[in-house]
C-alpha cells in the first residue's frame, strides 16, 4: 500500500488551514481553517494506521488505535467549535463585527 497520496492531501489541507488561520479576518473563517488543519491530522492518523496495520498486528490491544485517535480528535474539534462559535457570537453581539483584527485589546 502506498501512503503518499493521503499525505499529500493532508499536507495540502493543513497548508490551506494555516493560510486561513493566518490571513482570514473573519473569526468564523479562522475557526473553519482550524477545522481544516484538524481534518488533515485525522487523515494522517487514519492513513498511517492503515499503512502500519500489518507491522503492528502483534499488538492486539491497539488494533484500532488510529481510528480511535481520529474519533477523539473529531470529538475534541466539535467541542472546540462549539465554544469557539459561542465566543464569536458573543463578540459579534457586543461589537457588531467578527473581524479578528479589531480584537487587539490585550496588548501593551
Amino acid at each position: 500500500m502506498i501512503v503518499n497520496q493521503f499525505l499529500v492531501l493532508a499536507a495540502l489541507l493543513f497548508s490551506i488551514g494555516v493560510y486561513g488561520v493566518l490571513v482570514r479576518r473573519n473569526a468564523v473563517l479562522v475557526l473553519l481553517s482550524v477545522e481544516l488543519m484538524l481534518t488533515a491530522v485525522n487523515i494522517n492518523l487514519v492513513a498511517f494506521w492503515a499503512y502500519l496495520q500489518d507491522p503492528l498486528a502483534y499488538l492486539q490491544d491497539v488494533q484500532f488505535a488510529g481510528q480511535v485517535f481520529a474519533l477523539f480528535v473529531i470529538a475534541v474539534a466539535a467541542a472546540e467549535v462549539g465554544i469557539g462559535l459561542a465566543i464569536v457570537v458573543l463578540i459579534f453581539r457586543n461589537r457588531s463585527s467578527a473581524n479578528i483584527d479589531e480584537l487587539d485589546l490585550l496588548k501593551w
Binding site: V18, V21, L22, V30, D101, L105, L106, K107, W108
Partner: protein, 686 residues
C-alpha cells in the same frame, strides 16, 4: 525531680549519722520550703492583682502570714515534741567545685524564727489593715510588707551562706522601700537611704566573712562549715578570727550594733507597723540569727573565741549608750527604737558570753513585747496624729485597750516578774555571770554590771514613756479615741504572748526553750546556768523596780512635759544625749560630706573625661566606620549593582513589550514559524 528526692534522702541519712537524737520532721519539714515561697508568691500576686481585690491586696498578705504562722506553730509543736532536723535542697548550678543550691533548713533555730515571724507578722498585718486605711499606696505597702516578711523567711530558711545573703539583701531592699513609704517627704527618703547604705557598709564585712569561710571550707553550706568546726579543720582555725570578726561586722549592720546603730532610729520614718515588724521579728533579728547559726565557730576554743570578747563589748556599749539616749527622746517611736537597740545589745552580749539559748530566748520574748509596744505606739499616733509625747498625755482615759496592753508590754520589757522580759533578761544575766566564772573574766564581770544598770535604764525610760503618754493632761489637738477593733485585737493577742512567753524557759523549773533551739546537728557548748540564780534575778528585778520608782517620781507628778524635761537638763550629759553623742554628726560631717564631695568630684571627673571619652571615642569610631560602610560599600557597591540590574530589566521590558500586539494571528504566525524552524533544524541535525 529524681535528683531532688535523692538529695533529700542523702540529707536524711547524713542527719541520721549524727549522735544527736533528732527526728526528720516528716512531711511537715519536707514541705517547709512553702514557708518562704507562699509569701513570695503572694507578694507578686498583690503587686499584680492586689488592686482588683475587695480589700486591695490585704487579704493575700494576711493569708500568707496566717499560713506562715500556722505552719511555724505546727513545726514548733513538732519540734517541742521531739527535736527536728531536716535539710532539703534543690541544686541550681555547679560552678567549679561550688554547688549553687536553693534549700530550706528545718531545725530548732529556724523553726523558732518561722514561728516568731509568722505570729508577730500575723498580728502586725492584721493591725496594718486598720492603721494603713486610706493610705494612697495601700496595695503597694502590703506588697512591700509581704516581701519584707518573705525575705526574712528566705534568710532564716537558708541552709547555705549564699541564700542567706540573698535573703539578707532582700530584707535590706524591702526595709528601704518601707522606710521610704512616705517618700514625698525628703527626710523619709534620706532615712531610707541611710538605712540602706549603713547596712551596705556592714554587708562588706559579711561578704568578706562568707568568702573567707567558703574558700577555706570549700562549701557554702552551714552544715559543712560547722562540720569543719567540729572536726577542728586546721585551715579554718587559721582564718577563724577574721572570718568570725567579718561575719560579726555583717551582723552588727543588720542588728544595728554600735557604731552601725545610726540607721535604726531614723528608720522610724516608715509607717509604724513596719517599725513593729522590723524591730520584733524581721531585719534586726537577722544579725542575732546569723550569730546563732554560726555559734559553734565562736564557741569552739580553737576557733573565733577571741571575737566573742569583741562581741560582748560591742553589745554592752550598744546596750548602755542607746538606752541612755532613749531617756531624752520626745518621739515615742524613737524611745522604742533606742530601746530596741538597747535590747539588741542584750542579745549581742548574750551571744558574746557564749550563751546561745539566752540570746535567742531574749530575741523570742523581745519579738512579742516590742512588736506589741510599737503597735500600741502606732495606735496612739493614729489617735493623736503626732509622734511626739509632748502632744500626748492622759490617754489612759481615752484608749483603755491600748493603755493596758502598753502597760503589759512595758512591764515585760522592763523585766518585771513574771512577764516574759524577766525570764529572758534573767537568763542573760545568769549566763553572763556563768561566762565570767568560765573564762569570760573581768570583761564579762564588767558587762554583767552594765547589763544590770541597763535593766535600770530600761525601766526608767519605759516608765517615762508610759507617764508622758498615758498620764497627766492631754496636750494635743482634737479628741483622741480608741482605735478600731482590728487594731486592738492584735494588741491583746501580743500582750498575752508577752505575758506568758517567758514561761518557755524558767531555769530549774522548766527549760523547754533550751531544748527547742538546741535541736541542731552541731553540739553547741552553750554557756548557761542550770538553776535560777536568786541573787542575779533579785538584782535585775530590783534595778527594774528602782527604775520604775524613779520614773514615777520624776514624771508622774509633773503635768507639764517641758518642765519634766528641764529637770533632766544636766549641763554636759543632756546635750550629749540629745545629740546622740554626736555620732550622727560625726558620720555626716566626718565621713559622708567629705566623701560625698570628693567622690562626687571624682565620679564627675571620671565621667566627663574617662567614661565620656571612651563613649565619645566609640561613638566617633562607629560614625566613621558607618560612613565608610555607607558611602563606600553600600552606596557605591551594593546599591550600584542593584540599580544596574533593575535598570537593565526595565529597559529590556520597555523594548520587548512592543512584541505584545494583541493580534492573535501574529501570535499564531510566530507559533508556526517557530514550529517550522524547529522542524528544519531537526532535519538538518538528523
Amino acid at each position: 525531680m529524681t535528683h531532688l528526692v535523692t538529695t533529700l534522702f542523702l540529707y536524711a541519712e547524713e542527719g541520721a549519722e549524727h549522735a544527736v537524737e533528732l527526728a526528720d520532721g516528716g512531711v511537715l519539714a519536707q514541705w517547709a520550703w512553702l514557708i518562704p515561697a507562699v509569701p513570695l508568691v503572694m507578694m507578686f500576686a498583690i503587686a499584680f492583682f492586689g488592686r482588683r481585690l475587695p480589700n486591695r491586696g490585704w487579704e493575700l498578705a494576711e493569708f500568707s502570714m496566717l499560713f506562715v504562722a500556722v505552719y511555724g506553730v505546727a513545726l514548733f509543736i513538732s519540734n517541742a515534741d521531739q527535736g527536728v532536723y531536716y535539710e532539703g535542697a534543690i541544686e541550681i548550678a555547679t560552678v567549679g567545685s561550688f554547688v549553687l543550691e536553693w534549700g530550706w533548713v528545718v531545725d530548732g533555730l529556724s523553726i523558732m524564727m518561722y514561728a516568731v515571724v509568722g505570729i508577730v507578722g500575723l498580728a502586725v498585718f492584721t493591725y496594718s489593715k486598720g492603721y494603713m486605711e486610706g493610705d494612697i499606696r495601700y496595695t503597694g505597702f502590703f506588697a512591700n510588707f509581704t516581701l519584707f516578711a518573705a525575705a526574712m523567711l528566705v534568710l532564716v530558711s537558708s541552709p547555705n551562706m549564699l541564700q542567706l545573703i540573698v535573703g539578707w539583701e532582700l530584707v535590706g531592699l524591702a526595709s528601704y522601700l518601707l522606710i521610704g513609704h512616705y517618700w514625698e517627704d525628703h527626710e523619709n527618703n534620706a532615712a531610707a537611704i541611710k538605712a540602706f547604705i549603713t547596712n551596705k557598709v556592714a554587708d562588706v564585712g559579711l561578704f568578706i566573712g562568707v568568702i573567707i569561710v567558703a574558700v577555706t571550707v570549700g562549701s557554702f553550706r552551714f552544715s559543712d562549715v560547722l562540720d569543719a568546726v567540729a572536726n577542728a579543720d586546721s585551715a579554718l582555725i587559721e582564718v577563724a578570727f577574721w572570718a568570725g570578726l567579718m561575719l560579726f561586722i555583717g551582723a552588727m549592720g543588720k542588728s544595728a550594733q554600735f557604731p552601725f546603730h545610726v540607721w535604726l532610729p531614723d528608720a522610724m520614718a516608715g509607717p509604724t507597723p513596719v517599725s513593729s515588724l522590723m524591730h520584733a521579728a524581721t531585719m534586726v533579728t537577722a544579725g542575732i540569727y546569723l550569730l546563732g547559726r554560726m555559734f559553734p565557730l565562736y564557741q569552739d576554743e580553737l576557733f573565733a573565741v577571741d571575737v566573742k570578747t569583741i562581741i560582748i563589748i560591742v553589745g554592752a556599749v550598744t546596750l548602755l549608750l542607746t538606752g541612755l539616749i532613749a531617756l531624752v527622746q520626745d518621739d515615742i517611736k524613737k524611745v522604742l527604737a533606742y530601746s530596741t537597740l538597747s535590747q539588741l545589745g542584750y542579745m549581742t552580749v548574750a551571744m558574746g558570753a557564749g550563751a546561745y539559748t539566752a540570746g535567742l530566748f531574749h530575741l523570742f520574748t523581745h519579738a512579742f513585747f516590742k512588736g506589741l509596744l510599737f503597735l500600741c505606739a502606732g495606735s496612739v499616733i493614729h489617735a493623736v496624729h503626732s509622734n511626739n509625747m509632748s502632744d500626748m498625755g492622759g490617754l489612759r482615759k481615752y484608749m483603755p485597750s491600748t493603755f493596758w496592753t502598753f502597760i503589759v508590754g512595758s512591764l515585760a520589757l522592763a523585766g518585771i516578774f513574771p512577764l516574759a522580759g524577766f525570764w529572758s533578761k534573767d537568763e542573760i544575766l545568769s549566763s553572763v555571770s556563768f561566762d565570767a566564772a568560765h573564762g569570760g573574766g573581768a570583761v564579762a564581770s564588767t558587762v554583767l554590771v552594765v547589763a544590770i544598770v541597763g535593766a535600770f535604764i530600761t525601766a526608767l525610760y519605759m516608765a517615762r514613756a508610759v507617764y508622758l503618754t498615758f498620764y497627766g493632761e492631754y496636750k494635743g489637738e482634737g479628741h483622741p479615741h480608741e482605735s478600731p477593733k482590728i487594731m486592738t485585737y492584735p494588741l491583746i493577742g501580743l500582750a498575752a504572748l508577752a505575758a506568758v512567753a517567758g514561761f518557755a524557759n524558767m531555769p530549774g523549773i522548766y527549760t523547754g526553750f533550751t531544748d527547742w533551739v538546741g535541736a541542731r546537728l552541731h553540739v553547741m557548748g552553750d554557756h548557761h546556768a542550770e538553776a535560777i540564780n536568786y541573787l542575779l534575778a533579785g538584782l535585775g528585778l530590783a534595778a527594774a523596780g528602782i527604775g520604775i520608782a524613779a520614773g514615777t517620781r520624776l514624771w508622774r507628778a509633773d503635768r507639764d512635759t517641758q518642765a519634766a524635761r528641764d529637770r533632766f537638763r544636766i549641763p554636759v550629759l543632756y546635750p550629749l544625749l540629745e545629740n546622740k553623742y554626736y555620732i550622727d554628726d560625726f558620720y555626716l560631717r566626718g565621713i559622708v560630706n567629705p566623701t560625698k564631695g570628693s567622690i562626687a568630684r571624682a565620679t564627675d571627673w571620671s565621667n566627663t573625661y574617662l567614661l565620656d571619652g571612651v563613649v565619645n571615642g566609640v561613638g566617633l569610631g562607629a560614625g566613621l566606620l558607618s560612613k565608610i560602610v555607607y558611602g563606600g560599600i553600600d552606596q557605591r557597591g551594593i546599591d550600584l549593582a542593584i540599580n544596574a540590574t533593575a535598570a537593565a530589566t526595565g529597559e529590556a521590558g520597555e523594548q520587548l513589550r512592543h512584541t505584545t500586539t494583541g493580534r492573535v494571528q501574529q501570535y499564531a504566525g510566530a507559533l508556526f514559524a517557530g514550529a517550522i524552524l524547529l522542524v528544519v533544524g531537526f532535519l538538518i541535525l538528523s
